[in-house]
C-alpha cells in the first residue's frame, strides 16, 4: 500500500499544516512517482464518474423534494386546517413521505454514491461494468419514486422506515443487491494487500442492508408473522437501518476525509478496528431499545438497553481516535468545507450516541418516551451526523470527479450556516419541547390538550428551523448545479490554500479539467 509522497503537498501550505507521517513510498520502498499516482487516479475516477455523479445528482433532487415535504408536514402540524381537502396532502401521508424521501432518497442515494467512489479509490483499481451501476441507479430511483408517491397515494404501511409499499421495496432491494455485489467484486479485485477501515465500514453496511431489508419486508408484508413479533422486527429494522447501515457509511466517509484533508494518518489504527467491531456488535443488539415499557417480554428491552450503554465503548474508541488525529489542526476546519461538514457531523454523532446511551435508563425513558424528543434524537443522527457528513462527502468527491473547483465559496458558507442554524433550532426546540411534553405526559392531572398548548411554540420553532434548513439545501443544490453546468470559471475556495481540497486543483493545474487530487494530501494509510 502506498501513500502519496510528502512532496506532492501544497508548497504554499504553512509548515505547520504539512503532513508529517512517515509513510512515503510504496510498501516495497520504491518511491511513487507523482504522475503515476495521477494517472491511476484519473483512470479510477473516470471509471466511476458517471454512476457516482448520477447518484449524487439524484440524491440532491431527493433532498429538495424531502425538504419541501418536510416544511409542508411541519406547517400542517402547526396549522392543521391548511389544504385538508386532498387526501394525498394529509399530514399522516406527508410525514412518512418526507421521512422516506430523506432517508432513502437523499441519504441512501448519496451514501451509495460516496461509498462507490471510496471503494474505487481505496481498492485502487478502475471499476469495470459501470453499466450495472447505472441500471441499478435507475432501478433504485424508480423504487424510491414509486415508494414516496405510493405513500402519498395511500399505500403506506405505517411501519417506520418501512412505509414503502411492496411494489417499491422489491425494486429497492433488487437495485441494492446489484450495487452490493458490484462493491464486493470490486473489493475482491482490489490491487492493495490490505483494506482500509473505510472499506470495512462500506462492506459492513452493504452486507447488512440487503439482509435486514429482506428480513423486515418478508416477515412484515410478504409472509407476515403475527403482529406482536412484527412489532419487534419493525423496531429492529428501523434502529439497525440507522446504526448498521447509515452510521457505518458516515464513518467510512469520516475516516477517509479527515485523514486526507489533515494530511496525516489516523492516530491509532488498532483502536479504529476495535471501534469497528464493537460498534457493529453492540449497536446491532440495541435494536429493541425504542420498545421500552411496551407490550413485549422485558428481557428484550433490557438486553437492548444494556447494549446501548455498551456502545459507549466504541464511541470512546472512535472519538479519541479522531481527536488525536486532529491534534491541533482544528484551523483546517475554517478553510476546508468538506472537513467542516464532516467534523460537525461527527460531533452530532457523539452527542446522539451519548444521548442514546444515557436515555435508556428506565427513569429517564419513562418520561421522555413517546415525546418529540425522539424526533430530536432521530434528527441528530439522520440529519446532524449523516446529512452533514454526506454534504462534506459531496464537496470532496464531486469536485474531484469533475476536475472542477466549486464555484462559489459564499454559497458553500451559506449552505453550512443555514443548515447548522436551522438544524440547531429545530433540534433544540424538539428536545426542549420533548422534555416538557414528557413531564406533562407523566402527570395525569395535565389534560392532553393543555399539554399540547405547552408544546405548540416548540413545534412552531421547528417549522422555522425546517424552512431555514431548506434555504441551506437550495444553496447546496445551486452549488451543485453550477458545478455540473460548468458555468463560469473555476474559482478558489479560499485565498490561500491550506491542505486537501482547499488547494483548488484548478489553481495548480493548467487546465481546470485536469483530474485532481494532485495537490491533495496523502491517501489514508493502511496500517497492517
Amino acid at each position: 500500500m502506498s501513500a502519496v509522497p510528502i512532496s506532492t503537498v501544497d508548497p504554499v501550505a504553512p509548515a505547520s499544516f504539512r503532513p508529517s507521517h512517515p509513510a512515503a513510498g510504496t510498501a516495497e520502498g520504491r518511491p511513487v512517482h507523482k504522475d503515476e499516482i495521477d494517472a491511476e487516479r484519473t483512470a479510477i475516477d473516470a471509471s466511476v464518474r458517471t454512476p457516482v455523479l448520477l447518484f449524487f445528482g439524484a440524491a440532491i433532487h431527493w433532498l429538495l423534494l424531502a425538504s419541501a415535504l418536510a416544511v409542508l408536514d411541519s406547517f400542517k402540524l402547526n396549522f392543521p386546517g391548511f389544504l385538508n381537502d386532498y387526501a394525498w396532502l394529509t399530514i399522516g401521508r406527508l410525514h412518512p413521505a418526507a421521512g422516506n424521501a430523506l432517508v432513502y432518497g437523499w441519504a441512501g442515494t448519496a451514501a451509495i454514491g460516496a461509498a462507490l467512489w471510496l471503494m474505487a479509490r481505496l481498492c485502487r483499481t478502475p471499476f469495470r461494468h459501470g453499466g450495472v451501476l447505472e441500471s441499478a441507479w435507475a432501478l433504485w430511483n424508480l423504487g424510491v419514486t414509486l415508494g414516496v408517491f405510493g405513500i402519498l397515494y395511500g399505500h403506506g404501511t405505517s411501519y417506520l422506515s418501512l412505509e414503502f409499499p411492496r411494489y417499491a421495496s422489491v425494486l429497492i432491494f433488487t437495485a441494492f443487491v446489484f450495487i452490493a455485489l458490484w462493491v464486493v467484486f470490486a473489493f475482491r479485485h482490489r490491487t492493495t494487500d490490505e483494506a482500509y477501515i473505510s472499506q470495512w465500514y462500506v462492506l459492513a453496511a452493504f452486507l447488512f442492508f440487503p439482509w435486514a431489508y429482506a428480513t423486515a419486508n418478508l416477515l412484515l408484508f410478504f409472509i407476515p408473522v403475527q403482529a406482536p413479533a412484527q412489532a419487534v422486527i419493525a423496531a429492529w429494522y428501523a434502529h439497525s437501518l440507522v446504526s448498521l447501515f447509515f452510521v457505518p457509511l458516515g464513518l467510512a466517509i469520516a475516516y477517509y476525509i479527515v485523514p486526507k484533508v489533515l494530511g496525516r494518518p489516523i492516530a491509532n489504527y488498532g483502536m479504529a478496528r476495535i471501534g469497528f467491531w464493537t460498534w457493529l456488535l453492540f449497536a446491532g443488539w440495541a435494536g429493541a431499545y425504542g420498545l421500552i415499557g411496551g407490550p413485549l417480554p422485558t428481557w428484550l428491552v433490557s438486553f437492548s438497553i444494556a447494549a446501548s450503554v455498551l456502545t459507549l465503548l466504541p464511541l470512546y474508541a472512535i472519538f479519541t481516535n479522531f481527536r488525536h488525529t486532529f491534534a491541533g489542526r482544528y484551523a483546517a476546519l475554517r478553510h476546508v468545507p468538506s472537513l467542516r461538514f464532516v467534523t460537525v457531523g461527527m460531533w452530532c454523532f457523539l452527542a446522539a450516541g451519548l444521548a442514546g446511551a444515557l436515555t435508556g435508563f428506565r427513569g429517564i425513558a419513562s418520561v421522555i418516551h413517546f415525546t418529540i424528543l425522539n424526533d430530536a434524537a432521530g434528527q441528530l443522527l439522520m440529519y446532524g451526523f449523516l446529512s452533514l457528513t454526506l454534504f462534506g462527502a459531496t464537496y470532496y468527491i464531486v469536485s474531484r470527479l469533475l476536475g472542477l473547483e466549486w464555484e462559489s465559496p459564499s454559497l458553500i458558507r451559506s449552505h453550512f450556516w443555514w443548515c447548522l442554524v436551522g438544524f440547531g433550532l429545530a433540534t433544540t426546540s424538539l428536545a426542549l419541547g420533548g422534555i416538557i411534553q414528557g413531564l406533562g405526559l407523566d402527570d395525569p392531572k395535565v389534560p392532553n390538550l393543555v399539554l399540547l398548548s405547552f408544546i405548540k411554540p416548540f413545534l412552531f420553532m421547528q417549522l422555522v428551523g425546517a424552512v431555514v434548513v431548506t434555504g441551506g439545501h437550495i444553496c447546496f443544490a445551486a452549488s451543485f448545479s453550477l458545478l455540473v453546468a460548468r458555468i463560469g470559471q473555476p474559482t478558489l475556495l479560499v485565498p490561500l490554500g491550506v491542505l486537501g481540497e482547499a488547494l483548488a486543483p484548478g489553481r495548480f493545474a493548467k487546465s481546470p479539467m485536469t483530474p485532481n487530487d494532485r495537490s491533495a494530501a496523502a491517501e489514508p494509510l493502511t496500517v497492517k
Binding site: 392543521p80 403482529a227 446491532g284 407490550p295 419513562s366 415525546t371 399540547l452
Partner: protein, 212 residues
C-alpha cells in the same frame, strides 16, 4: 483463508447475533401465540376484528395515524398511562394477536388509542372528530380528514347519517350536508373495536389505580 474472507465471516457472525436475538428469538417467543378460549362458550379472547374494522385498519395505516397516536398501555411502573385513563391494565403481546399489523407507535402528540373503543363508544363522535377535530377537541392539531366524507347539497330529505354539530358554515348556510364515506365508517369501526384492556388475560393482571 485470506484476510478479506475473515472480514466477511466476521461481519456475518456479528450480524447473525443481532438477527438471532432480535428477529428469530422474538419470532419463536411471540410469533405463534394462541388466544384464550372459554371452556363453556368457546369464545376467544381477544376477539377477532370484523371485516369492516380490518378495512379501517388499512385506512388507519394509509393515513398515518400512528405518527401521533400510540396503541399500547404501559404499566404504572413505566408511566402514567393507566392514571390517564388509557386502560385498566398494561397491554401485553397477546393483545395484538388479532391484528394484521401492530401499530404500537412512538409518539403521543395525541392520546393513546389501545383502548379507545371503550372510551369513545359513539361512531358519531368519531365522525365529527375525523371531519372537524376542533369541534370536539378544541385546540387539537389533529388533521381534519375531509377526504373521508362526501359534502354535497341536500336534495330532498337530509341523509340520516349526516354529521350534526359542525361549527363551520357547512350545514345551514349552503344547505349542504356532510356524510361519512365508506373509509370513514371503516375507520370508525376499527377504532370502536380497539378495546385492548377491556378483557382479562392471565399474564396482565389489572393494576390498581389508587396505589403507586
Amino acid at each position: 483463508m485470506n484476510r478479506s474472507t475473515s472480514l466477511f465471516v466476521g461481519l456475518l457472525l456479528v450480524f447473525l447475533t443481532s438477527w438471532l436475538a432480535l428477529v428469530v428469538v422474538p419470532y419463536i417467543q411471540m410469533g405463534r401465540l394462541l388466544p384464550d378460549v372459554d371452556d363453556v362458550t368457546q369464545d376467544q379472547t381477544p376477539a377477532a376484528f370484523s371485516g369492516l374494522a380490518e378495512q379501517g385498519r388499512q385506512v388507519y395505516a394509509a393515513n398515518g395515524c400512528v405518527y401521533c397516536h400510540s396503541q399500547q398501555v404501559r404499566s404504572r411502573v413505566s408511566g402514567a398511562d393507566i392514571d390517564r385513563g388509557w386502560g385498566e391494565r398494561r397491554t401485553v403481546a397477546r393483545d395484538y394477536l388479532r391484528d394484521r399489523a401492530a401499530y404500537l407507535g412512538e409518539s403521543r402528540m395525541g392520546p393513546d388509542l389501545a383502548n379507545v373503543g371503550s372510551r369513545r363508544d359513539k361512531a358519531d363522535w368519531l365522525y365529527t372528530h375525523f371531519y372537524e377535530p376542533d369541534a370536539v377537541s378544541p385546540g387539537t392539531n389533529c388533521p381534519p380528514l375531509h377526504f373521508l366524507f362526501s359534502r354535497h347539497k341536500i336534495v330532498g330529505q337530509p341523509s340520516t347519517d349526516a354529521l350534526q354539530g359542525l361549527s363551520g358554515d357547512v350545514p345551514k348556510v349552503h344547505e349542504e350536508e356532510v356524510v361519512p364515506g365508506h373509509d370513514a365508517k371503516a375507520l370508525a369501526a376499527y377504532l370502536l373495536s380497539l378495546k385492548r384492556t377491556s378483557y382479562k388475560l392471565a399474564e396482565a393482571p389489572e393494576e390498581k389505580t389508587d396505589t403507586p
